[in-house]
Symmetry: D3
Subunit: 242 residues, 6 copies
Amino acid sequence: MKLKVIMPITSNVFNEEIKEEVKHYVGSNDSLDVENLNYGPASIESEFDEAMAVPDILNKVKKAQAEGFDGVVIDCFGDPGVNAARELVDIPVCGGFEPAMQIALGLGKNIGIVTVLPNVVSMIQDLISKMGIEKRVKSIRYVNIPVLDLGDKQKLEDELFNQSLEAIKSDHVHVIVLGCTGMMGMAHNLMRRLKEAGYDVPVVDPAFAAVTMVRSYVQMGLKHSRLTYMTPPVKPYSWWGN
Amino acid sequence: MKLKVIMPITSNVFNEEIKEEVKHYVGSNDSLDVENLNYGPASIESEFDEAMAVPDILNKVKKAQAEGFDGVVIDCFGDPGVNAARELVDIPVCGGFEPAMQIALGLGKNIGIVTVLPNVVSMIQDLISKMGIEKRVKSIRYVNIPVLDLGDKQKLEDELFNQSLEAIKSDHVHVIVLGCTGMMGMAHNLMRRLKEAGYDVPVVDPAFAAVTMVRSYVQMGLKHSRLTYMTPPVKPYSWWGN
Amino acid sequence: MKLKVIMPITSNVFNEEIKEEVKHYVGSNDSLDVENLNYGPASIESEFDEAMAVPDILNKVKKAQAEGFDGVVIDCFGDPGVNAARELVDIPVCGGFEPAMQIALGLGKNIGIVTVLPNVVSMIQDLISKMGIEKRVKSIRYVNIPVLDLGDKQKLEDELFNQSLEAIKSDHVHVIVLGCTGMMGMAHNLMRRLKEAGYDVPVVDPAFAAVTMVRSYVQMGLKHSRLTYMTPPVKPYSWWGN
Amino acid sequence: MKLKVIMPITSNVFNEEIKEEVKHYVGSNDSLDVENLNYGPASIESEFDEAMAVPDILNKVKKAQAEGFDGVVIDCFGDPGVNAARELVDIPVCGGFEPAMQIALGLGKNIGIVTVLPNVVSMIQDLISKMGIEKRVKSIRYVNIPVLDLGDKQKLEDELFNQSLEAIKSDHVHVIVLGCTGMMGMAHNLMRRLKEAGYDVPVVDPAFAAVTMVRSYVQMGLKHSRLTYMTPPVKPYSWWGN
Amino acid sequence: MKLKVIMPITSNVFNEEIKEEVKHYVGSNDSLDVENLNYGPASIESEFDEAMAVPDILNKVKKAQAEGFDGVVIDCFGDPGVNAARELVDIPVCGGFEPAMQIALGLGKNIGIVTVLPNVVSMIQDLISKMGIEKRVKSIRYVNIPVLDLGDKQKLEDELFNQSLEAIKSDHVHVIVLGCTGMMGMAHNLMRRLKEAGYDVPVVDPAFAAVTMVRSYVQMGLKHSRLTYMTPPVKPYSWWGN
Amino acid sequence: MKLKVIMPITSNVFNEEIKEEVKHYVGSNDSLDVENLNYGPASIESEFDEAMAVPDILNKVKKAQAEGFDGVVIDCFGDPGVNAARELVDIPVCGGFEPAMQIALGLGKNIGIVTVLPNVVSMIQDLISKMGIEKRVKSIRYVNIPVLDLGDKQKLEDELFNQSLEAIKSDHVHVIVLGCTGMMGMAHNLMRRLKEAGYDVPVVDPAFAAVTMVRSYVQMGLKHSRLTYMTPPVKPYSWWGN
């Protein structure tokens, strides 16, 4: 199985980490390729950032299909360009949000999301509404750390722990979903600390969830429905530099 | 009041029509400016088309604020780039969907949408979910005519009449919303024909609804909440040709 | 355009204020007429008060149509008699609730209402359910001031500020709707004070919203659907003093 | 137990029937009193009719409490004045809709209502929304017979049978609720005919349901919550003839 | 009327109490029979306990019908085996949850449940979802007392009072439902104490509610719909000791 | 990875098929064990059948954990005993419904289920409500073939094709979920036939989905939340033959 991970930002700070973690997780039989954007934002923390990332994401998705990849992960919790990408290609494409919620829906009743900044909370509310799972998500909290500062792992872990604890105690949450694909390597430590604090709850890492769901679709021989994601009608497009 | 209408496609086939209709409606006191995209699709009929339209829409919105416009209409029923635009500027910005539904919500209980192509039905379902008004929309139908063929006004009117009638009879619809801003000039004829057929129902034109809502916000001294649409954090962007 | 504002109470304490404010807002081209009830309660603060107000409201609405008015505002946040009135006449009729929520729906994701007394909170819950927008309204709070004591403007403004702040901080509200049409003249000051406190959020005045929506319907040539609001079957009625 | 049935219309055509049926059902220990309106409509088939019935309904409810009745039924499927009445008195008050749905909710998953005229369908949709049971009601149909023509029992039964059959076959309905309190004496015949047609489904008569629920509240020592139905603040009212 | 109460546990600590209370309530005309399980758990506080109780519950229900009982109460708030039982017999069968909620739905807008242990909160969430009344239930709290320790009536009453007060003040609850059928004899004292504390709210006892609803169905000549609860297809079953 | 599949019926007609299909799918690294019930029904087609299957299912689940299995599939679309099993053990446990819907939620907007008999439709409605995904499921249809007659593969495939086509055309379905774990080997043929008929839609096999999700949980190091599925309090149980 050949998987393409599109890191939908121009910064490559997360590339090695995702490679390593997925390698550890996926094992040796799969080929994994990580690719950054040429054009777009350094990080995604707003609808504006998403809008600026999507055109080049779509280029990379088309290229991935042309190069024979079996599936694509667009590695961002906001699922930028996922629907448009599914219109364009015949291989499974996932972002981080939908797979993380698919996994979480089977692990417990009340789900809470802990994300990076207040700026993306309304965007996550929209994703929840579009997915039609409002009844299951009880809490959206944030650690208030910008994406490109997530490298301070200790600070991140402490803030995730604090916010998760608050979600459990105040918002009656039973399952934690990490609300940013840049929070790699946090899930298992966080689960351990929450268990030590008396709360034996699962924590879902959206990057792992994304890879897991794409691999599942490929193994099951499934791809996205063409009745939801129809092929775009042919027409002229004009673009910068063309 | 100075209003900017961004026609979010590279084709200018709708420009004169929107100018004339809004002039007729708005009267002589307002200044109205219509502007096409330099970069993007010839028409919007998919999520891919929307994605390709949004970056230049956002350029035009920022320019409109810089040039002193009081409000902006992004003239497409899919509301492309509306949320991102609201993050960027401090003047009211509306697409076609949200205002049309706001108007329709006050006119009758069961709302039906008649749009152009099956391709955009799932996109409209998403817009309805995001707006949180699923309980009010009973039907999404389409005339099966591509956007750039809407110029055949008689065919369009006949198909709108047929689909509206079906929505009323089979889906218990009380209010019709035209599901494309390219369906200008249809609403009043359609209302008349439906009334002659025994159904005295309102028909909402989304382009008029958009201009109406933006003007209302300006008159009421209101703009979008900065708690929903926060200013994007500053960061580097790279782009074609820059 | 000739608009009738029915002040659905026997007290005339709000008449001058609404005239002046709407004049300031609407400009000189419209004619505006304000009329009190002959029979009914001194103020509306319960379902009982509403029930006692509605029969004479309906008389005034029929008279307004007979006298050639283009639209009617029933100036109360509880929308008393609005549906019955729409059954009776062929001109647009609005109360305060529905238009305020229509306006608010386009301004931000999470809406909060601040009203007068705890007595009307359940009534507002019913209005929200009937409108089908439960997903968007996160908070109903009250200043605990009876309607006829709203004349103490400083106390009202302070309590509105306190409750709005609480709605924003505790209930995650992004847009404030004033939950009584007697709270005229508050919206802009309140917006300013909230902005100074760090929250740049819109505040919707329901009386303005009502006038705005009725005017919009008239300008767009729209009235309420006869499939929702059918003409009442003819039958005998007996009444006091007839 | 002393029960008051308020027949909320000026016509007395249903009085004997309700007395007899309830006597048959309730047995000999209860006292039952039926009372018409002095002021109001001859029948209730619109929101306008309801509005004209409510003031005298409220008079009768207050009188019933003063005369020592233990509970009150407002005998109409539209629940006219029920909420206002609960604000006024400390004894249980029910209309026909809420009790019929309470009974139906325990009898099967998908509920269908068959009412009199298309005019009241939107009113019933509002009642369903206010009760918060949208997920359970799959169908609202009507026999298209005015209330005061329900005396043609054979025609009524045949049309109820036809519409119930359609509700079962086309709308997946499992439980039928009769949508007018004037449909007395129909439920058991209708159940028998539906069972003979292969559908063993319960049919709920709203007048019986109303008497049943009021009696249950009295027996259980329960009355309506004063946190939902607060006592109206004291104030002046002016009224015809006073 | 002959009613069977199945106490779905092997312990008989509640038998006398239910007999006495129902006798006091139902009066002398009804025959009431209480029966424990031979096989199952000592109390029900988990989904596992429910699963172990259901097979013998179903035996007792079939026996009750064979012995000519008119209706059956399965006396547990979790409604264990209720749906399966309805498939098996043609007489009304109720547990404690559904009837308690049916009663509560007519008493006030916002409902709160106070149950025994945190273990059953998710089970109650499932029952609410299945009944489709999520919009009406605002709070699920617990006294943290195991079922078989409910005999300490003073401790139970105090904790119910504390949790009910919290539900009213913090969760905006208007109606309290006791979330365990072992909380007999609490409702009226609790109502009195809450009223003394300034909150005139009804408290629903689920055991009484269950008997009330079964009796109502019998009196109305209604039983459960065979389109929801179809007769199980005939097939071989193997069982312990058979 | 060692997986246990519990075939929750006493018939072993499906055992070889599931082994072979999962082997083909899972590959050679995993160990898979299939085990029937000793006590229970020959097939599951009602809530009664489920109730009779659950006690021995729970025995088998506990045994599987004791024997060192990494995860358990309870191979039935009705998810019988899944929640109770999760209370008992610390390894992932899945039935067929929840995983099939988790997979389907990521493949297209409108989901349709095609199951065996009308008897289980209400049970599936309950599962959908409990999962909180009502907005996504547009259709539940059935082939009207009893579980133990599913061996006639051609008849099954033809009926699945007919009902799927109807779901797509009449109910606007985009994704098909097979509503019985006995429909193994159907998904890919059905997808091919639907594609040939012009509908390129995914078909989800619930047995594969179940194995996939359990394997995903094991690989991700996740298990069910102890805040949803608490360990049952210790107490005496009596049982047949003990």
